[in-house]
């Protein structure tokens, strides 16, 4: 998923779930920030590197594919972008080595989604936003794994797109400078590398950006699927993702007492369903404009564009005593907790691909945090 869904659509979901305009902005900012919180950025902010939620292209280019680097890659991508659906999945005759990768295949409505949402309960808005990113990505990144793996993430040449006029074969190219062409059905993907652990075989790199587009409807043969065809209908899946986000957000703000998987709040989105479906189905590379207009219509407030630097000054300038009250510090705390939870769950299942880490249980106090942040910002301004 991209900024259009992680930022603007998350804002809409939060507002529909009953959060105020300002709260919704904090939630959607955090959801989008997951795609930008790299080690490079953390180094600049002098923040803990363990809080990284993504890797930049250059970071991955430099990344080794030895055991330690693979653990790091898997922790980041499996925890935040490719949440495994079933850590105990079985496959006949499969070796443990294969199963370790097979069990990391991402999908919605797994136990880990429930744990992710529950982990954010009673925590900061940043934790809620982060959880929404993870939840939403389980729908977009379904059938791919957040670890480099040829035998899981590779695709065959039989990759077809369904659209209004029929069906056509997707033409994949590897030139990173040429943009995806929706009209011609030409998309950039990563190069084929026969090395199992090549970084080119991470996530949906072999299918390019295509699975991230909300309009995409396609069929293909995944490497792990025993030659069976998979049909993926993104407009339908993204609608479910949106309805599930609204439900999860209602749970997180106390409107529901429990969070159950396979449950969606279609009732809340019913009045807007047609509009949402129209946005999702529109064949375009970026739907930010449409989602933004919808969000502003919902709340009657203006939604500022995402600005990666918005909270950086606050974090850098904050005094050590108050640093953990800043917007970004709360995001980092939530990120570390999420990473620890997912890594440990993978480890507990007998899978060593993400390593293990200390389990972090933290409780955020219901104090006058906003007043502290306001005071902190006034100090910074001085």
């Amino acid at each position: 998923m991209q900024e259009d869904f992680h930022y603007y659509a998350t804002y809409c979901a939060a507002f529909l779930a009953g959060f105020s305009h300002d709260e919704s902005l904090d939630i959607c900012y955090s959801a989008q920030f997951v795609d930008l919180c790299s080690k490079t950025l953390l180094l600049k902010l002098k923040a803990p590197l363990i809080a990284a939620t993504t890797q930049l292209q250059l970071e991955m280019m430099d990344s080794r594919t030895d055991i330690l680097a693979l653990l790091d890659i898997t922790r980041i991508w499996a925890s935040f972008h490719f949440l495994p659906r079933d850590l105990y999945a079985k496959k006949k005759w499969a070796t443990k080595r294969y199963l370790n990768k097979y069990r990391l295949i991402c999908g919605p409505n797994g136990e880990l989604v429930k744990e992710t949402v529950e982990l954010a309960k009673g925590k900061s808005l940043q934790a809620i936003g982060l959880a929404m990113h993870v939840l939403a990505d389980t729908w977009a990144h379904m059938y791919f794994a957040g670890t480099p793996s040829l035998c899981i993430n590779n695709i065959t040449g039989d990759f077809y797109e369904n659209y209004e006029d029929g069906e056509r074969k997707i033409r994949f190219k590897h030139n990173p400078t040429s943009p995806d062409d929706v009209e011609k059905g030409a998309y950039t993907n990563s190069l084929f590398q026969s090395n199992e652990n090549s970084i080119m075989n991470l996530g949906h790199g072999r299918a390019g950006h295509f699975p991230d587009y909300s309009f995409a409807r396609y069929r293909y043969v995944p490497a792990w699927g025993d030659y069976s065809l998979i049909y993926k209908d993104n407009p339908s899946d993204y609608l479910k993702a949106f309805a599930q986000m609204v439900y999860a957000l209602k749970y997180l703000n106390g409107r529901f007492f429990s969070f159950d998987i396979e449950r969606y709040d279609y009732e809340a989105i019913e009045p807007y369903r047609e509009k949402i479906v129209k946005i999702l189905k529109k064949r375009q590379l970026n739907a930010c404009e449409e989602w933004k207009a919808f969000g502003e219509e919902l709340s009657g407030e203006s939604i500022p564009d995402f600005d990666i630097e918005r909270y950086q000054y606050e974090y850098i300038k904050a005094d050590r005593r108050y640093k953990n009250k800043t917007f970004l510090a709360r995001f980092f705390t939530a990120a570390i907790a999420q990473k620890a939870m997912v890594t440990n769950e993978i480890f507990k299942s007998g899978n060593i691909l993400a390593g293990f880490t200390k389990e972090i249980k933290y409780q955020e106090k219901e104090d006058d945090d906003d007043k502290i942040r306001e005071w902190l910002n006034s100090k910074i301004r001085q």
Binding site: D35, M60, D62, T65, C151, S190, E196, H209, Y227
Partner: protein, 177 residues
């Protein structure tokens, strides 16, 4: 290219240069060392590929390719090892053909890279061409064994240097988030 691949390339380059120097110093037996290294590395790669197939590749769509690749490499490795007892001329022809084949693959890869719009292809292309020219030269002068071994050794040094240089160059990377 990952750091591990870069280290591999540098190490292989240094070994190749060492072997080439040994071939120049001792043309009588130097080629046997080359043969041994080639045989061992091909067999090792074949076994590695077979291990991958039996533990993972057999569950993968198109994974049978790793079985074929493994069997082929292992077979070629054993075959290379068995060449020790045959006349030196044939062994040199075999080594030269392998070199020419590597050159051809390099040129094909360059053509593929250019099709995708890459601009950094000249070094690889010249490497491929020189590999093929050296092979042609060796075959033409196959009766002059000392000359052939010298030319082959120089070609080996050139390939090793290219390998080392490539390891330190920036590599294009495409990843889709």
């Amino acid at each position: 290219m990952t750091n591990i691949q870069k280290i591999n390339n540098v190490v292989l380059g240094i070994i190749s240069i060492a072997v080439a120097i040994y071939m120049i110093i001792d043309p009588q037996d130097g080629y046997l060392l080359m043969l041994f290294i080639l045989s061992f590395s091909l067999a090792f790669r074949g076994l590695k590929e077979l291990f991958y197939f039996f533990t993972m590749g057999r569950h993968m769509v198109g994974g049978r390719f790793s079985l074929y690749k493994g069997v082929f490499l292992l077979d070629i490795g054993f075959f290379t090892g068995s060449l020790i007892d045959i006349p030196k001329t044939y062994v040199m022809i075999y080594l030269v053909i392998i070199n020419a084949f590597a050159g051809l693959v390099e040129i094909l890869r360059v053509m593929e890279t250019r099709r995708y719009g890459s601009k950094s292809w000249k070094l690889k292309f010249s490497h491929g061409i020189i590999n093929i020219l050296l092979a042609v030269f060796c075959i033409v002068f196959i009766k002059h064994q000392r000359t052939v071994i010298l030319v082959y050794a120089l070609g080996l040094i050139y390939s090793a240097l290219i390998r080392i240089v490539s390891a330190f160059r920036k590599t294009a990377f495409i990843f889709i988030q």
